[in-house]
Point group: C2
Chain length 306, copies 2
């Protein structure tokens, strides 16, 4: 029975490419592994797959009866439907430790680094398997995507070293150029529906019993989002009702200015002040220097909700 390697809902580049790269490693080690995705790919990820010659992994949203390896997440809210009816064989991640549990001992490696791709690269090395050139390309793209071209607060020395080595294997001379090409894809918002933009990179969290959704849109300039802010806010209100959320937050992140405007729809505005020491001004608050959801936003909300 084949094993599916799958990242989180609202798949991003790291989630998709780490699944492809880790499935390839497992195949080389003798396991019949198939990469999968839980949803539509964003324009950046499509660009990366095309650039390095990969097709889209197959869609998998229901875990019932499947053997799975989870990459880039360990939260029930972000994983396959009916995960309790799946057999989880491994988890490879770089986030906070989530609420997925298993009935059996499994291999679980979580490292506090900038991308799951960094962890996957390490696992190629540990297993003595050479990283193919095109796999190095998508792993490099994943590191650059998740670390905002090695600028995000989550970036570690391990990520920088991994990126340099992967660039060499992939034959990428200018990482910065590749990164900017990728972020331009992300920043191309023309004609996009608010719901599509909101869910492009959106994660559910269980924070002390409260359902909290946190999305992020990264652009090269916030001004690109001017016309989208009001429609996005209205969409957040709708999604909050439909999904019975306590709060929906949307990070509008300017990767050049290096900061985030946090749009907030919440049952309790005080959580924003508790988390960041700043009050909402209207619908949002500006958080200078904040670019990472997992390191600069989630932990502070976790404390505010505790």
């Amino acid at each position: 029975m084949a094993v599916y390697v799958v990242g989180h809902k609202s798949p991003d580049t790291d989630s998709v490419c780490s699944a492809i790269a880790y499935a390839e490693l497992k195949r080389k080690l003798g396991t019949e592994a198939i990469p999968a995705r839980q949803g539509e790919l964003n324009p950046e990820t499509k660009f990366v797959l095309e650039k390095f010659g990969f097709s889209e992994p197959e869609l998998l949203t229901d875990g019932a009866g499947k053997k799975v390896i989870l990459v880039d997440h360990s939260e029930v809210g972000q994983t396959l439907d009916n995960i309790d009816q799946a057999e989880i064989l491994e988890i490879i991640d770089h986030h906070k430790i989530g609420d997925i549990t298993t009935p059996n001992p499994i291999f679980f490696l979580n490292m506090p680094v900038g991308s799951t791709a960094t962890v996957v690269k390490k696992l190629y090395e540990e297993n003595g398997v050479e990283i193919p050139k095109n796999i190095a390309g998508i792993l490099l793209a994943s590191v650059l995507s998740d670390t905002v071209i090695l600028k995000s607060a989550t970036t570690t020395d391990t990520d920088v070293k991994a990126a340099e080595e992967l660039a060499k294997i992939a034959g990428v001379d200018d990482m910065q150029e590749l990164g900017m090409e990728m972020f331009k894809q992300k920043s191309d918002l023309a004609g996009k529906e608010p719901r599509e933009l909101l869910f492009r990179d959106f994660k559910d969290f269980n924070m002390s019993g409260n359902k909290v959704g946190i999305g992020q849109i990264e652009v090269v300039s916030l001004s690109l989002l001017d016309e989208f802010k009001d429609p996005l806010y209205e969409e957040m209100k709708k999604v909050k009702e439909e999904g019975d959320y306590h709060s929906i937050f949307l990070m509008l992140t300017d990767i050049i200015q290096e900061g985030t405007e946090l749009l907030s729809v919440t049952d309790d505005v005080s959580v924003v002040e508790k988390a960041f020491g700043k009050k909402l001004e209207g619908k949002s608050v500006w958080l200078p220097g904040v670019m990472s959801r997992k390191k600069q936003v989630v932990p502070f909300f976790e404390k505010a909700f505790a």
Copy 2:
């Protein structure tokens, strides 16, 4: 601020010795790390520490305000009190993935191997740190203890290889002899109170919302337990009432005969049949070949309770 490295409640040899060995590794890597234990040491562990020249680690039961590294567990029910007020820096384990979550990304390595000591040995190697002779001794003892001298169903090739290499470093010529010496300590039950025996190796689990306690006593012959069975059963009933448990199970494991008599006090006797396909005969059921709580008992109860 010092970091405490601590194993589970009702500490066993692997839990205590892995904490000592991993704290030593962290110190060599520049972290002020202190090994700790959550309770009284069992006779086997005392024997092992004395044999290889270690004193008892300090007692730590409350995590409030502490920085901690957890070894040999990832279950809230098995960890420090007030763990929500501690900062968890790392988790090193070899069990099923438990319900401990963190607000931040951390290093979490769980391997499906026979002992946490096997994982700790690997981390010495990964970090390029030589394993000191006496540390190799307690790591070897941990492997032998957790795998019932490499006979338990949890034993992997990795454990066997680790044990052989550790024996060489520690200067232990005969692993079998060391293992039997250890298990004789465990089997010396004369004058022991039923409550002490029950809690010597006892773990709490949250199984689909039900509080379940599972203890284990390993002896070289079940006949050593004849006079203790009735008092142990009465004690289990008391503990079930006091602790508001759904079920208390006690594995009486014969390491020579290779099987377990499972004493059961439960609100629902059908879970035993669901788990093992055999009905209770009076207070217990005989499970041939069953020696490992984590691999041969916990997963089956998890499914029965699901």
